[in-house]
Assembly symmetry: C2
Homo-oligomer: 252 residues x 2
Amino acid sequence: MSTSAIVTAAVLVIGDEILSGRTKDKNIGFIADYLTAIGIDLKEVRVVSDDEAAIIEAIDALRAKYTYVFTTGGIGPTHDDITADCIAKAFGVALPYHPEAVAILKERLAKTGGELNEARMRMARIPEGAALVVNKVSGAPGFWIGNVITMAGIPTVMQSMLDEVAPKLKTGTKMMSETIRADLKEGDVGTPLGEIAKANPDAIIGSYPFFDEKLGPNTNIVVRSRDPQKLQVVKGAVENMIAKVKSQLAAG
Amino acid sequence: MSTSAIVTAAVLVIGDEILSGRTKDKNIGFIADYLTAIGIDLKEVRVVSDDEAAIIEAIDALRAKYTYVFTTGGIGPTHDDITADCIAKAFGVALPYHPEAVAILKERLAKTGGELNEARMRMARIPEGAALVVNKVSGAPGFWIGNVITMAGIPTVMQSMLDEVAPKLKTGTKMMSETIRADLKEGDVGTPLGEIAKANPDAIIGSYPFFDEKLGPNTNIVVRSRDPQKLQVVKGAVENMIAKVKSQLAAG
């Protein structure tokens, strides 16, 4: 694992079932947490349907922009699994049967039963030049070509694939965060918080309203920085601001 | 509500907190279900950070492509709420205080307490020419300009805003679906299912593996069409295929 200042990523979720609402995505939030924890900034997510033009356009847009692109979905054995085809086309490479992938499927089927038919062989088609991503859950591998990492859509399988690739990813200086509960309404901290944000352009300050059962409308303020000292300075400024607003409201 | 054959939409989720993993999005799945139910095809979702260039680029790409764009997030009172600014810039219009929005905020604050300060006034800035989208939950309105509908990120507020705009949306012929549980492994139905898909290019056929506690690896096949007759024909073809595969495997 090598380290540079900022490493970025995008997630591309592929599947009609997410867009129709039939399946609720569970991968975006998991990958977001995972990448944040290892020091990769997730900058964009897209969800597209099982449509070749839409998938290729998204792959090309995202791989040009970010350090890594993680795709989920569309690598199963059926006709609507077209992710491998689209990535091969995007990279302008062939999509041959990968001997190691074929061997993995054969070994798996020897255990579970079932025939290595045309449909299952689809899962052994890997874009030329790609490395396999081992799937410890159900056998059929993902793959990694250029800066694009293609994983399954089933959450348990995707998660195990992410564990496989994580040690090989470049990572950046981790973004750290502090959450400060204001016990104030967002509208009461907005103006002074904006001043703190303006004075500290190198920290990221977010404000998240929530409803507290006892106190009513409330606010969490999240300060983020890659510099631990900066983080503490801005956290202190936010805490002082909160104390000041509270005493002003009390003096009312 | 007027009807044409196909009406499309995209969702744009705006917020660092989704990309950092801090907040798990609950809006995409809800909007997907909602739009499918009223006859609008959700074709794409994007999640971008609180970054002006990223938001404007996504807005412009999506509004050129789809009938509607629904945005969620970034319309609160703090400095990181920049959605209104970005939409005004994308449309090339000013972002003045909207008298009706100001009146709504005043009325709300008269009930809940709190000062109509600079921060809260941010929520009354509405792109010139936009219509307000009433917020029955917490007051501060969303807005609708061109084909872009801007809603809050908080799920309860977003949902009430969607209820407000739904009766005014163009909708298309509803996509209907039938789910057929195969009780077969996906790899065993893949080849014949592909043939059915090829013979019925006007129906959408999806295959979704799942794990059954008793039977092990299993498959749901989902057939979708706007034509109820077509839907039944393809459903029948899938059911026949499943029966045939089962008898082949039993004989096998």
